[in-house]
């Protein structure tokens, strides 16, 4: 393909968001080399994320398009890229007020966010195992740095190292799995894998099964579903609160975006034994997440286990398959993004320079001291619990509907029972916030001042939560057109 061909230009247009995300950290490095200052780097990050978001519409003009055999830019990829970029933007803004309180080099965290976001965007656009792996590694390596970003905090370092060791091990598993699948099929493109399997070009099925199993291990690790979830609580607890928000939302969402495309396009979703594996993973995650969360006293750990459970719910929709399944997965992810960012956002703005606000104690009587913040946190927790007027309710409804349409009654009933268990720990946090302080009791240490950036982000997230919860129609329409590209 010549540089002068119109195809080349259209290809560049299609990957414009990726180019912006790739260029921005380079620009920031140059800026920092000239003069180190927090605000300019922050603003470059915000503007480039906004530019990347805006360029989605330009890219849509050139979509659907295959850019090199590695990337498939279609509405689906663009939708997920938009979701990821928006989440990264929210995390960036939350980080500003948070990192100000810490005595560290503040600028690199934004570069790491941008690099991680680039990796996530590549992940959801990939149509090939190589780009899948590339995207994953770009995302993961940035995350190691992010998790360990506070060198003064032992727990942050521990989280970074733990994440590094386990993620590297899982990447090795995945790489081996990819090699086995390649050895069997002779291709790494999702589409060609599908046609190879359907046309019976599957000379060594004995390699295929362990290959796929190893890939699932890698995916399962990133999604933090049981039994690959063991790293989650420690990393969530140790990583700085905004980074935790990023790991919980972007890294999982991007992986699910990839999983959905990989399974639908390569035809793996029609392969019963494989789906049985995911069924078991879903059940294990719903139980493990909800039951283990009951025993926690640390808000970040509660949210970590709750996110394990939520990924289990999403897998129920994934099991259902078809248009309903893909739609429910995507919708639930959007709701989960809003909710997770909101919940960790509250943790972020309440954190001080000494430590994150992750003890249940930190939230005692919050409602009587900061009613707005407590109300937002309550809304987020109720959304996680799936109560109406929140996005989480419509998401849960959609998931149950998808499950019912595929007659997965057993999975749905488990979902219902485990989410009832989940109510206990959500309500425990909610109640702590509304608890009255006994007369004359010592007030917990003074709450940190609320940064304007944090307040605005949380207000927007809360508004989105309610808006999607009451008027899901427009979002549903967008999702329908996005998933039409893969189903």
């Amino acid at each position: 393909m010549s540089i002068l061909s119109p195809d080349f230009g259209l290809g560049l247009t299609a990957i414009l968001p990726l180019l912006i995300l790739g260029g921005a950290p380079v620009l920031e490095m140059i800026v920092v080399a000239v003069r180190r200052a927090h605000a300019p780097v922050f603003w470059i990050t915000v503007l480039s994320l906004l530019a990347a978001f805006g360029s989605l519409w330009i890219a849509a003009g050139a979509a659907p398009r295959e850019v090199t055999p590695l990337l498939e830019i279609d509405r689906y990829a663009l939708f997920y890229t938009g979701l990821i970029v928006a989440a990264a933007l929210a995390v960036t803004v939350l980080t500003y007020g948070y990192i100000e309180k810490h005595n560290v080099q503040r600028e690199e965290i934004y570069m790491l966010y941008l690099i991680a976001t680039l990796g996530a965007a590549v992940l959801v656009s990939s149509s090939h195992l190589i780009s899948f792996f590339l995207g994953l590694e770009v995302l993961s390596i940035a995350l190691y740095g992010l998790a360990a970003y506070l060198p003064a905090s032992e727990r942050s370092l521990e989280a970074g190292v733990k994440y590094l060791v386990l993620a590297a091990a899982s990447a090795a598993f995945m790489l081996f799995g990819i090699a086995l699948v390649y050895m069997d099929l002779g291709t790494m493109s999702f589409r060609e894998m599908a046609s190879a399997i359907t046309s019976g070009l599957n000379p060594h099925p004995v390699l295929m099964v362990p290959g796929i199993a190893l890939i699932i291990t890698g995916i399962g690790f990133k999604l933090a579903v049981a039994p690959f979830h063991l790293w989650t609580p420690d990393v969530y607890e140790g990583a700085p609160a905004p980074v935790t928000a990023y790991i919980a939302s972007v890294s999982k969402g991007a992986m699910f975006g990839l999983l959905l495309r990989y399974f639908y396009v390569s035809g793996a979703a029609d392969y019963r034994p494989l789906m049985l594996v995911f069924e078991i993973i879903a059940i294990a995650s719903m139980f493990a997440g909800n039951l283990l969360a009951l025993m926690q006293n640390n808000v970040k750990r509660i949210l970590a286990y709750s996110s394990i459970a939520h990924l289990g719910y999403i897998l129920v929709a994934f099991e259902a398959g078809g248009v309903a399944g893909a739609g429910a997965v995507t919708f639930y992810l959007v709701a989960y993004f809003i909710t997770t960012l909101g919940a960790f956002g509250v943790v972020t703005v309440l954190s001080t320079g000494e430590r994150d606000a992750d003890r249940l104690e930190d939230y005692r009587a919050l409602f009587w001291r900061r009613p707005g913040l407590a109300a937002i946190f309550t809304a987020m927790l109720l959304s996680l619990a799936g109560i109406p007027v929140t996005a989480g309710f419509i998401g849960k409804f959609y998931v149950v509907a998808a499950g019912a349409s595929a007659t997965l009654w057993a999975l749905i009933i488990i979902l219902v029972v485990t989410s009832a268990i989940g109510l206990f720990y959500y309500l425990r946090v909610v109640f702590t916030m509304f608890e009255h302080l006994p007369e004359g009791a010592e007030l917990p240490p003074r709450l940190p001042a609320l940064a304007a950036s944090g307040a605005v982000t949380l207000a927007i997230l809360a508004a989105l939560l309610v808006w999607v919860g009451i008027f899901p129609g427009p979002l549903l329409a967008v999702i329908r057109s996005a998933i039409a590209a893969i189903v």
């Binding site: 409602f367 409804f397 009654w409 749905i412 029972v417 309500l427 109640f431 509304f434 129609g473």
Partner: protein, 493 residues
């Protein structure tokens, strides 16, 4: 459009009350009072306007509807409709709404704005339940009632409020999710049969279902409603929630939340699944009669006034359950009248219990006694509603329970006979209230303030309503007659 107003006024008033409370708590109370009062006025207006002649033609009992597309992708409509049955329950809801605002006037001093936000929103959810005929909207409203009610108990409740609130939430949420599965199953079965995705009540009626599927889906709905009603053995949340809730919370729980269960059975369970309901009726009636006896016996054994009244609710709602599943005209009339009368008489007993607790700081019957000399007016009101609860002829409860017994007798005399024992047992617990609290010597030397003007207004209006229901229930019976005929036609038996 007026139906949207009924809900919208409350939602807006709740937010408004919250907003003005930091400036003036009085204003927050007045905003809520006016909103609930306006709703009451609107329902009375609807009643007078639509039932002047009481002559119904046509094949539908709905006389007011609002139908907007909401989420067309799923076939979800914002569809409210009102017939005589929902009109009566909405009237009751707004009436008890006024009562609960007034009853909290002095009791609630903490976070007044947030309290009224929750109070208004729980009322909006309840009215939404009575009016929704799109099953998704119904579920939405059903869940919407929960959160404010949880807060009412958990924040302004008594000693064991957290335990009670969480228990309440888990029971209702779990059963609600079961109902969601049932709703979705019905939705997909309907699509399989007709190719149309819809949550519309009227379209879902008569969906062809296999025998097992019909029974399964019916049970999903039934359990959700039976938890709310409550039916033994799904009742354990009730005594705790009722006892620990603040007065307004208890009034709304007993007066309205339980009625949503009865309403659901009438509106959805039997008409949507007539075959399964008929098959299940004997079991439901046996469970209902167990509830009547069990509730009455346990009520008699209580020493805590609010807990006693809470158990009487289990007993009274057993009549609703057997009445609905007997499904003949007399039994249905009885069930509906029982729902209305129980809402008033039990609501009033909770107001009295709350007023006593506010003055004496105890709910223990053993601490009371001899109050008749001290606070004669409140004791008189207490006697009145206790007699109402035991089924004194001339008061509303008697009409309801008597009609239920008549209707059930035609279907299954043994059940009617056993239920009649429950009426007898009611005498014991009602007289226990009167004797322990109001009569006897005033050993503790209580010296208390009698009913205030505000409390008189509450008691007086409730007394009149109960007498009216007892002496001249005909207007009420004719109001829901067309709606009830419709339900009977739909159920086909």
């Amino acid at each position: 459009m007026i139906l949207v107003w009924l809900i919208g006024i409350l939602l807006v008033a709740g937010v408004l009350a919250w907003a003005v409370a930091p400036v003036s708590t009085r204003a927050a109370r007045w905003v809520s009072l006016i909103a609930a009062g306006t709703d009451f006025g609107l329902s009375v207006y609807l009643w007078i306007d639509n039932f002047r002649g009481l002559n119904y033609a046509g094949n539908t009992a709905w006389f007011a509807q609002v139908d907007w597309a909401w989420v067309p992708e799923f076939g979800i409509h914002f569809h409210l409709a009102m017939d005589g049955l929902s009109l009566l329950l909405v009237t009751l809801a707004s009436f008890l709404g006024v009562v609960s605002v007034l009853a909290s006037w002095r009791e609630i001093r903490q976070a007044v704005g947030f309290f009224h936000l929750n109070l208004m929103w729980v009322l909006a959810g309840i009215i939404g339940v009575f009016l929704s005929i799109d099953l998704f909207l119904f579920y939405f409203a059903w869940e919407l009632m929960l959160v404010p009610m949880y807060f009412l108990i958990a924040i302004w409740g008594h000693e064991r409020r957290v335990y009670a609130a969480v228990k309440f939430f888990i029971f209702t949420q779990l059963s609600g999710l079961l109902m969601l599965i049932a709703i979705l199953a019905l939705y997909f079965f309907h699509h399989a049969a007709t190719g149309v995705y819809t949550f519309e009540y009227e379209q879902l009626l008569g969906t062809p279902l296999g025998r097992a599927a019909e029974m399964g889906i019916m049970l999903g709905f039934f359990i959700a409603f039976a938890v709310k009603l409550p039916m033994v053995p799904l009742h354990p949340w009730l005594p705790d929630a009722h006892t620990e809730a603040p007065t307004a919370g208890s009034v709304i729980l007993a007066g309205l939340l339980l009625k949503t269960g009865g309403y659901g059975l009438l509106r959805f369970v039997v008409p949507l699944f007539p075959g399964a309901a008929r098959e299940f009726a004997p079991a439901a009636m046996v469970l209902g009669v167990i509830g009547i006896i069990y509730g009455a016996l346990l009520a008699f054994g209580q020493t805590d006034l609010k807990r006693l009244v809470a158990y009487t609710s289990i007993s009274h709602m057993g009549f609703v359950l057997i009445g609905v599943f007997a499904w003949n005209t007399l039994a249905l009339q009885g069930a509906i009248v029982t729902m209305l009368a129980h809402g008033i008489s039990t609501g009033a007993l909770f107001v009295i219990a709350g007023a006593l607790q506010e003055r004496m700081h105890t709910r223990e019957l053993a601490e009371m006694g001899g109050l008749w000399d001290v606070i004669p007016r409140m004791s008189g009101a207490g006697l009145f509603f206790a007699l109402g609860s035991l089924g004194l002829p001339g008061l509303g409860d008697f009409v309801g329970e008597f009609l239920v017994l008549l209707g059930v007798w035609r279907v299954w005399p043994a059940i009617a006979a056993t239920a009649a024992v429950g009426v007898l047992a009611a005498t014991f617990y009602a007289l226990k209230i009167v004797q322990d609290a109001f009569q006897g010597p005033n050993i503790r030397h209580w010296s208390l303030q009698d009913l205030t003007g505000r409390e008189w207004a509450i008691m007086g209006s409730m007394i009149m309503a109960l007498i009216w229901l007892g002496l001249y229930p005909q207007p009420v019976l004719s109001t829901f007659a067309p709606a009830m005929r419709m339900l009977q036609v739909l159920a086909g038996f």
